[in-house]
Every structure is written in C-alpha cells, then in structure tokens.
Amino acid sequence: MIPAAVRSEIAEHARAELPNEACGLLLLDGDHAVEYVAGENASPSPYYFELRLDPVVWADLGDRDVEQAVVHSHVSSPPRPSRTDVERIGLWQGRPYVIYSVRLDELAAWRIAGGAIEPLPLSES
C-alpha cells in the first residue's frame, strides 16, 4: 500500500529528472510504504540509472526497522522491469522493486529473482 503523498513524491522526482531516469529508495513498514528517499542517478541517461545515496545516510536507513525497495523511473516505457533491470538486480533480488512510468503516470511493483519477474500487488491510497 502506498499513500498518495509518497506516490506523488516519486512522480515529482521522476518528472524533475527528465529526460533522464530518476531513482531512490522506498522504505516499507511491512506492506506499508512510509517514505521515499530520492537518490541521485550516477549515470544520468534516459535508459539507465545507477542509484547513488550518501553511504552513511544509506547505512543508517539500513539500521531502521524498515525494508528498502529500489524505485526508478522509466521515461516513456511502461513500468515493467527491462532486461537491464533483471540483469542488474544483484543483491536486490527477491525484494520489492518499484518502477514509475513518467509518460503513463503509472506505478508498479515487482519481484525479480532467478531471472524471473513476478508482479506484486500495489494499492494506492
């Protein structure tokens, strides 16, 4: 479940980063998204992102009792993981993976593991 305020922070960040992809972390308390932490795209491109956050801030987030989900934007394609996303999932496999499509204004959540993509239910409030 993602509150409207958190969703609109993701959307605003994605629009602000156009024409490049935006990225950040969504903090989850159980099934409930509680906060969006905007990151920096270290490889600014309309087709690629590389999440960068201050390492100390990021490590401190890891010490809070919340789960982290990577969020990134697709400029014009639908919010479905690309082959690059699957190939580069790395240590985040099996965790919630959130994509926002700027053109479609759609948010979707996925789980990528073992090369497979599984949709996760996402409700907005």
Binding site: Y48, F49, E50, P55, W58, S76, S77, R83, R88, I89
Partner: protein, 452 residues
C-alpha cells in the same frame, strides 16, 4: 579493529548483525578477514580477486573504486560501509548499438502504413486523392504527373561530423527538398485536399492564410495548380525573398505590423475572415490536416527508413510536425523522446514559437512532448554555419535551432539514433548573411526581421 556496516541485503550471511568487526590496514585485508569470519559473505562481496560488481565498499564516505580500490587504506578505528549497488534501466535495443559505418536502413514496406488507430482519421475525411501519388519510375528516372505528387518522400542523410560521439547516429530529414523548398508543402496540400473532400472548399472561394512565409509559398503553389486565389497576411518585416516569392507564385499580400510578429498576422487574418465569408482560411495552427500530413507522411517515412529512433527533434512552430510525426514515430518506437526546439523567451523574432509568447496553437498538445529544449539565436546560427561548413548542408534558421538541440540531446545518450527534421534550406535567408557575417551583425539582423 574496524567496524563493517552490513546492509539488510547481506545480513543473512552474518547471522542478522547490522555491523561486524574485522581487522586490517587496507580494504583488501579487512575484507579478507571479514570473509574468514563470515564465509557465507565471500561469494557476495568478492569475485575474481576483486570487489563483486553488485557491492559498493565505502571508506570515509568514499567509494573505494574511486580511491585505490582494494589497496585503499583503512584508518585505525575507522568504519567500512558495504552497500548493495543498484543499476538498471528502461527497455532499449541490445547493448553495442549500431554497427560501425553505414547505418542499417529498413527496406521500404510493401504496404502503406496502416491507418488502424490513426488518431486523425476521425476528425478529417480522407483526401480525394487518397491513392498513392502518381509517381512512376521509368527507365529514364522518376516521372510525376504533377508537382503536387513530388511533395514528401524526402531523404534522410546522416550527419557524422555533427554528432558529438560516434556511437550516436544523427540523421537529418531534408524537407528543403520539397517542391517549394520547405516542409510546408506537405501541410498546404493536406489542408486544401481535406477541405475539398469535406466540401468546405469549393470553386469560387478564395484562400486567406496568416503566414510568415513558408506556408504561404506552399499554399500559393497548391492554390495555383488547383485554381484558387490566395491572399497571405504576412508580417511587414518578413524577408524580401519571401514576399517576392509569394508574389511570383501569384499570391496577394496583406502586411501586418512588424512589432506584432507572427501573432499579429494571425490576428489580422482572423479579423478579415470574419468580415467576409468569401474567404476560406485553412489556418494551419488549428487544422487537423496539418499534424495528419506529418503522421501519414513525415513520420511514416522516418519509421519506414530507420530501424531505430531514440530521439526525434523538430522545431516548435504550429506544432504540426511534432504532433503528427511524433505520434507516428512513437507508435513504432515507444521509448522515443520527442523533443521540441523552442526559442528562448524574449529572444526576439526567432520564428520558432515560444509558448511564452502567449499563443498556443490548438493542434499543439504540450503533454505529448517529452522535452522542450530552449535554444538561443546564437546557438541556432552557429549550428546553421556548422551544417554548411562541416556537412555541406545549406539549411534555414530553424534547422540550425533543431540541430543545436539534437547535438545537445545526442551528447546525453551513450548510443542510439537521433533524427532531426530540417524544415527548409537556406535560400530564403540569403539576404541576412548568416553564414559569414560577424556575430554582432547577425544579432542585429535577427532583431530586424521575422525569419519564418
């Protein structure tokens, strides 16, 4: 002893601890000691004698890959932070890009572009001459039944010397090769033929159009061949070449105040038309046949010619090219970025329309533009000079603006294909001496007249 902070993604390997201890003077020694104590971490953080690709290691807040890598020294009592790297992206063709050398051109399709889903077909009836243009290729070359049949099907040319990097292919669609020398031939023909088809334009009526030049010249050609009289409302400071060309093609001119620019011509034309029902005003700013000509023509031609388009750049005038061609190219390449070259607000009479000037053409839906990139007069003239000097392409002022924007967007891509639509050639701007005057003279000249 060094503290190593462990991210949630790696805590299973260390029994759930948020941080652990390890010994060493360098990152290599600390990580070696760490995996000795927690062997399950080894495959996650070390690979091929280096740091695994999906892990970032920080000392003093710096990524050690940007320092001395595994040899980075770790201060006594310092902290090492491990974080899961994350990278990804939206769908695009396989890495590696286009092969070097000649770009891959698609063979022409046998069938014309499908009209299913044509966003303009429901608003405008099909033109009377819906069949393919009467062009025949005989042994001696191309023979057309009418000059109107030679409108469109313009060539694309690669601009390798203007691309900021070899991995990005930059193409220009040469609309200056239309019969009157501009992209507006497509629009004029489509507007008149759709008005004939709908019955709105009949023999005996006369055409009236506000234009700073190219559309008037194109309408003059089409009107002359079809037998309609044409009056153009044109800003009095339009270039002499344009006024002369319009008169030579047989158009009557009504001059609008220079200070009001293109918007003044629009205002005056609409006032005249309201006062006299004899006039038929095609009005390219609101005529759906304008974007439709670019959907069925300009855009379809690009899609047929290229296997891939990542960015499409055109000038923002009526919005017809960007809406129509943009729509068609997006249908074929959903990830394309449709970018408008827009003059800096306040840069006088640049010709391309600044939306801040206060008039948004009804056919323009700004939401369909992925980017609007502001471009100055100086950048446009510089790019226009580069087009001529580096690529031998004698193009108009808006072409300079479009190419300046295309080069900027190309520089942002790692690899890909950028297509520009160059609206006309340089002939009608010769009196301005853009190509070899010094910059101050060009700036002064820019302020005196309307360029398109």
């Amino acid at each position: 002893m060094t503290v190593v902070r462990i991210p949630p993604t790696l805590r299973t390997e260390v029994g759930g601890a948020r941080q652990v201890e390890a010994d060493g003077d360098t990152v290599r020694e600390v990580l070696d000691d760490l995996v000795d104590r927690h062997p399950a971490l080894a495959p996650q953080i070390l690979q091929d004698g280096g740091i695994a690709p999906f892990v970032n290691v920080y000392v003093g807040g710096e990524d050690v890959r940007t320092l001395d890598g595994l040899d980075t020294s770790v201060p006594v009592g310092g902290t090492v932070i491990l974080l899961p790297a994350m990278a990804g992206g939206s769908p695009r063709p396989p890495a590696g890009g286009l092969p070097p050398g000649r770009a891959r051109l698609r063979p022409p399709r046998d069938a014309p572009p499908a009209l299913v889903g044509d966003p303009y077909s429901h608003t405008v009836p099909p033109p009377l001459t819906a069949a393919a243009p009467r062009r025949e290729r005989r042994e001696g070359g191309l023979v057309a039944g009418s000059l109107l049949d030679l409108i469109g099907s313009t060539p694309l040319v690669e601009l390798p010397r203007l691309s900021p990097k070899s991995s990005v292919k930059l193409y220009a669609k040469l609309e200056g090769q239309n019969p009157t020398g501009s992209i507006k031939d497509r629009v004029a023909k489509a507007m008149i033929e759709s008005a004939e088809a709908s019955g709105e334009l009949e023999p005996g009526r006369a055409l009236l159009e506000p234009t700073s030049g190219n559309t008037g010249i194109s309408l003059a050609l089409v009107a002359a061949l079809k037998g309609y009289p044409l009056t153009c409302v044109i800003p009095e400071n339009a270039t002499p070449e344009r006024k002369r060309l319009l008169r030579l093609y047989g158009a009557d001119l009504v001059l609008s105040p220079a200070a009001e620019g293109s918007n003044g011509a629009v205002r005056l034309a609409l006032e005249l038309a309201e006062a006299d029902p004899r006039w038929f005003v095609p009005f390219q700013y609101a005529n759906e046949a304008n974007p439709r000509a670019h959907y069925e023509g300009t855009g379809a031609e690009i899609v047929d010619a290229l296997e891939r388009v990542d960015v499409l750049v055109a000038g923002l005038g009526t919005g017809g090219t960007l809406m129509g061609a943009g729509e068609r190219v997006r249908e074929a390449f959903p990830d394309v970025i449709v970018a408008a070259a827009e003059p800096l607000p306040g840069d006088p009479v640049m010709g391309l329309r600044s939306l801040d000037d206060g008039y948004v053409p009804p056919i323009l839906d700004v939401a369909k533009l992925d980017r609007k990139v502001l471009v100055s007069n100086e950048e446009s003239v510089e790019a226009m000079r580069d087009l001529l000097h580096l690529e031998g392409l004698f193009a108009g002022v808006s072409a300079g603006a479009v190419v300046a924007v295309a080069r900027r967007l190309a520089a942002e891509l790692d690899e890909g294909v950028v297509v520009t639509i160059l609206a006309d050639a340089g002939w009608k701007y010769l009196s301005a001496d853009f190509w070899d005057a010094d910059e101050d003279a060009v700036a002064a000249s820019m302020e005196r007249t309307v360029w398109w």
